[in-house]
Symmetry: C2
Subunit: 192 residues, 2 copies
DNA sequence: GTCACTTCCTAAATGCGTTAGGCATATGCA
DNA sequence: TGCATATGCCTAACGCATTTAGGAAGTGAC
């Protein structure tokens, strides 16, 4: 009987593909084993357990998204950068819904620190260099941007915009416009 | 042997409580059965299967949130209404994290229509009556508000703000301020 | 070719979801 | 009050998933 040539990396990649096809919560040892035509127990040489498998898929997704985001951000600033970052995440989520979901998995503190998570945080902060914002407001703005991106993408992915007009692309563009305006005219403690 | 007096409603309520304690994905027939000190099979008289149980918890959460939101919105308009609605959702999520998660469960079209989902949509739309927005922009704004609320709450619940300053309450207030300003000065097709 | 290593296997324990069918308890009717 | 009926909860059993232990067979270095 010929070997399948499994490695931790191949198992993880398969997990990511299956997440996109079947949904992240369907990513289990048994599904991955079937995908390779292999006995379930064989996976446990490459992955500690089901949770470990899911965490690895999450880390892969975080890395992929960070790489794409970094490439998209290169040479851009201000509104361009904002649109580039948001659209990178959104496109990634539409291409790879399972991986995007995986990237939201709660990681323990140590794993989170070693992940691409901090790169994402840094990139959102970097965008704000194009806008004049000083410290407490900068953090508030980072959180707003993250909320809008993640909120919109989650709702779109979840089908919230499926049965209504106008299409999600149009709203996305107008929301980015609005966000840009807001960041350029960020209200100070007492708003106008 | 004395009876437990199970009903579909009691099972659903227990599911909701267990969701808050253990996480929504831990809400299964076996956990609920243990909670009542009852055999697993006994649940199947009250609930069709595991998915049905989860859907019922989701519907309960949607109703509870809609009721709270309606109460909070009564007699308020404009910025007050915006803050009241957002804070209702946020407080509910902090009090009942499992139920809030449940409320995000994807429902099939018919179930969604019969749920409290449409009430939530109507309430967000109602808030915009306090702002001067006409039709395509109104929908964009509804989606933005939903994205910010859900995005922020999800990230806060997921612990994204746990290890950084300033606290989530401060950011929340400033983000609501910013959102209010944005809705009052919504940029038209060509932004300033 | 042999040795060591690794990959993949079989076997088995445990637990969950689900269905089928049975006993016993609470409730409605005389 | 006594009985019939509906139903609340049970036991039993099946299939499938996760996980561990230990064994067999490919693979590569010498």
């Amino acid at each position: 009987m010929t070997r399948m040539g499994l490695t931790t990396e191949r198992v993880t990649r398969a997990g990511a593909e299956l997440a996109d096809e079947l949904g992240f919560d369907q990513v289990t040892p048994s599904v991955v084993a079937r995908h390779f035509g292999v006995q379930v127990a064989s996976l446990y040489s490459h992955v500690r357990n089901a949770q470990d498998l899911r965490v690895r898929v999450a880390l892969l997704a975080l890395e992929e998204m960070a790489d794409r985001a970094a490439a998209a951000l290169a040479g851009r600033a201000g509104r361009d950068a904002l649109v580039a970052l948001g659209t990178t995440y959104r496109d990634y989520a539409r291409e790879h819904p399972g991986r995007y979901t995986a990237a939201q998995l709660r990681l323990d503190h140590a794993t989170a620190l070693a992940s691409a998570g901090p790169r994402h945080a840094a990139m959102t902060r970097a965008i704000l260099r194009g806008y004049q914002l000083t410290e407490p407001d900068q953090t508030h703005a980072v959180r707003l941007i993250g909320s809008v991106f993640h909120g919109y993408i989650t709702q779109e992915l979840g089908g919230s915009y499926d049965h209504s007009q106008p299409g999600p692309q149009e709203s996305w563009e107008r929301i980015l416009d609005a966000l840009d305006v807001l960041l350029r005219h960020w209200p100070h403690e007492g708003q106008p």
